[in-house]
Amino acid sequence: MTAATRPAARSAGGPAAHQRPGFTRLMAAEWTKIRTVRSTLWSLILLVVLSIGFTALFVGLTAGTWKDMDAGDRAQVAADPVSFILGSGFFLSQLTVCVLGVLVIASEYSTGMIRASLLAVPRRLPMLWAKALVFAIIVLVIGIAVSFASYFIGVAIMGDKVHVSLGDDGVLRAVVGGGLYLAMLGLFALAVGAIVRHPAGGITGVIGFVLVLAPLTALLPGSIGDHVHAYLPSEAGVLIAKAHQGDSDLLTPWQGYGVFALWTAALLAAAAYLLKRRDA
């Protein structure tokens, strides 16, 4: 019994004698937490498979029916081939990031792990920041890799039907932007998960918003509708995966990403406030 081997003299130096562990230690702990549950592995595998699979499927279908498409559709694809290629994969695969982002924090609440986490980091906020940062880095790295893979696969399938190259204006930024978008989306979902504290509720909320509610606002009439749609988090954020501002876009790619970042920052701030305030 190791506890037994200690001499009877306790409390040498008092409770403040121990050093506060640095932020990198908290990040190491969060890395351990994220990599040691199966949902992480499955979500990330699904992200890769869905991205590449749907890119190949949609781009392949478009390329196969290229001759039968009307000139307007062809022109739309040719105007920004990167956006088309990345969009065809990410439209569905981004859901895995939404799910994982919510789960990373909400599953701590549903299993009770949050109590152990907060006993270890009773100031609470460093735990949230470490978790958010580690998760964002993971999604960013994998997101950029997947984005490049989708791009090359899409370009190969399209062949000579459209002309696009990484050297073209904005293309490289758009491909990297695919990863940036997913990383921010992950943080967005994590913030919602931290606020809702319930996996099912959080996942439903984020997916419902990103996949249903936000696209629907495009149907709102008039200039107000256009503005509402343009400034919604995911609709604005996805602009970063376009080579250049489209004719109907109110925001440039970086402006759009900035809007998404502001939304995410606001949600994270709300999550932080609630984490600090609420009983765990």
């Binding site: 050093q19 562990p21 199966r38 792990m113 152990a116 006993l119 009773p122």
Partner: protein, 330 residues
């Protein structure tokens, strides 16, 4: 040392902890006793900074828990509700906690060994039995080799062997000079584990004293007497101020008088005695009586002992108290 000062916590209009003030000293096991719903878990969560008190203050080793730089190295806690991700293995759970405090992997292996989970450390904690989960929680509490241990119902779900193990462990940790604060709703368990008791009911302090004193104070002494001249003896004893209750099998239960005095009076009057046995009332019954007013979820008005008729005076009226054996022989 743990200090609670006027600790008060309300959930809505329900007061879970009501103006609690107590101190837990190092070097002994302090039992935190109360019926279910008395506010034990809430009090512990307040001590650990998980819940915020509406009023009052809780300090461990002189500071608020939230101000401890490396809390797991000072305080080890086992919460009543499980605090483990079901999808993560015991080893990885402990590793993640260790990393937050800069505790090495060697210590993780040590505590796994200490609580006897070595064989299952790589298995997902979701598949653990209640007892294994409890051992994992204790491993997490011991991870930082803390001076203060706060354990909420640690014997929950443990088999008899496990109960003896955790009892021995707690007493051992206390002898090393640590502060050990352990909650339970089982009086008899606390009687053999704790040296000191803090008893609460409905969130309020009922008693804060040594276990011995608590037993002394709350269980009535009685003397069991068997005599062929029961009626005459009853008269003699009653005349001297004792209370005597006959029972159908010819035994007399004498209260308000010590055994030697009963013997002396019988000898003086020439009454033959066949049996003269000093007894104590059941500790469990005494505890129930003490906290009767404050039971949150009672089965009825009279928390009668199993088998005792409703309305029977609980602590001593069932001589010779069968379930008392455990308490009285300590």
């Amino acid at each position: 040392m743990i200090e609670a000062e006027n600790l008060t916590k309300r959930y809505g209009d329900k007061t879970a902890v009501d103006d609690l003030t107590f101190t837990v000293q190092p070097g002994r096991v302090t039992g935190f006793l109360g019926p279910n719903g008395a506010g034990k878990s809430t009090t512990m969560r307040l001590l650990l900074g998980l819940d915020r008190p509406n009023r009052g203050d809780a300090r461990i080793a002189g500071v608020h828990y939230t101000d401890l730089p490396a809390p797991l190295r000072v305080v080890g806690a086992l919460l009543e509700a499980r605090a483990v991700h079901t999808g993560r293995s015991a080893y990885n759970h402990l590793l993640a906690l260790a990393q937050t405090q800069g505790i090495g992997r060697k210590r993780v292996d040590e505590v796994i060994e200490l609580v006897g989970l070595t064989g299952v450390a790589r298995r997902r904690a979701g598949g653990f039995s209640l007892g294994m989960g409890q051992r994992l929680g204790i491993a997490a509490a011991l991870l930082g080799d803390p001076d203060v241990l706060i354990l909420d119902e640690p014997v929950n779900g443990l088999d008899p062997e496990g109960i003896v193990w955790i009892r021995t462990l707690m007493q051992h940790l206390a002898r090393e000079g640590r502060t050990v604060f352990v909650s339970s709703h089982l009086m008899n368990e606390m009687a053999v584990t704790a040296e000191h008791l803090i008893v609460i009911g409905r969130g309020r302090l009922i008693a804060d004293c040594s276990t011995e004193e608590f037993i002394e104070r709350s269980t009535e002494k009685m003397v069991i007497v068997r005599s062929p001249e029961a009626d005459r003896l009853t008269g003699v004893l009653t005349a001297e101020g004792a209370k005597v209750a006959p029972s159908p099998d010819g035994l007399l239960t004498v209260t308000h008088m010590e055994a030697p005095r009963v013997g002396e009076l019988a000898a003086a009057e020439g009454v033959v005695l066949h049996e003269l046995t000093p007894k104590r009332g059941s500790l469990e019954a005494a505890f129930m009586e003490l906290t009767r007013e404050s039971v949150e979820y009672g089965a009825g008005d009279a928390p009668a002992l199993p088998g005792a008729p409703p309305g029977a005076a609980v602590p001593v009226a069932a001589p010779p108290a069968g379930p008392a054996a455990e308490g009285e022989n300590r």
